[in-house]
Structure formats: structure tokens, C-alpha cells
Symmetry: C2
Subunit: 101 residues, 2 copies
Amino acid sequence: MILELVDLFVHDGTQTEFDKALEQGLHNVLRHAKGFRGYRINKGIEQNTRYVLMNYWETLENHTVDFRGSPAFPQWRAYITPYLAKPPVVEHFHVAGELAQ
Amino acid sequence: MILELVDLFVHDGTQTEFDKALEQGLHNVLRHAKGFRGYRINKGIEQNTRYVLMNYWETLENHTVDFRGSPAFPQWRAYITPYLAKPPVVEHFHVAGELAQ
């Protein structure tokens, strides 16, 4: 499983609207993408304009090729871009180990 | 639930040793901490010296007060510090929503 880690900073004061836009984008677009396995939304405590979105994909190419090359990509970005204070920073990771207690 | 997101960069070439040290530190120290709920280890694809460690805590204070104020904190750091190319960057997040497919 591949983690796409998305670091987002929104304009201060838009968090409530951004929460809704993010949920809509995830539900209307991203969750239907090929190989999409799930997401987790995390809201910054030290920096309340920071969000870390974790998207999980079956393969790296499901995100970088299939999704980014599809019409769904600009649709997804249209939900969140109006709120962003700077461009998202995205990197990918192998999920290497975990423990849930 | 609180996410502690730990951004780690290791010296290149030490990844295999670091993998072992990280597992040992998590299993011998961190998983016994009060309020510790689990972890996930993520290994960078674009940057193979980058690790993102997600630690989950019952409350923020379980990490910032209980754990960091205990003898377990330097024990944990002793496992991982020798491999780090720079100081860890740590921030906390509220887990605000998720979807597992």
C-alpha cells in the first residue's frame, strides 16, 4: 500500500469552509478513483492553518499516472485550491509497518 | 485521538539499521507509554532518506507531558538519534475524518 502525504496550508479563517470542501472533494471525486484505498484528514494543533491529508493507494501509478492523468484530477483540485495559501506539497511513502493498540 | 507526526531524515546508507532501531524503540519503549494507541512507519519514495512516523495518542498531554517528562523519552531517542541527519520535526494533529475502503 502506498501513502500519498499531502501537506496543505489554508488561508486563516477559512477552515470551516475548507473542511466542507475537502469532504466534498474526497467523497465526490477521490474515493471513486481507481486504486484509491482510503484517506485520513488531520488538522494541525500547533498551526491551525495546516492540514495533513493522507491518501492511500493500491499502487504508486494509481495516483501518479491513472489519477493525475484523468479528468478527475482538476475536478478534485477545484474543490480545494480556492482555500490554499500556498501550493500543496505531496510525497509518496511505502507503508512499512504498523501497530494498532 | 491525537496524531504525532514525526518527520525524520536519516544518513543515507543507514536505512536498514535504522529500520531495526526504529522497530526496537517502538516495541521496547514507545508502545508501553501511557495513552499510546499505535504507530505507522512510512518510508519515503521520492526521498529514500525520509521517514514519516505517525504515533497515535489518547490525548495531547499523554505525549507532551506524560511521555516527554518520563525517563522513557531519552530511552526512545537513544534508539533513533544516532541515525538522524537532522533533528526530528514533530507536530500534532486532530484526526478529523477518515475513510477506509
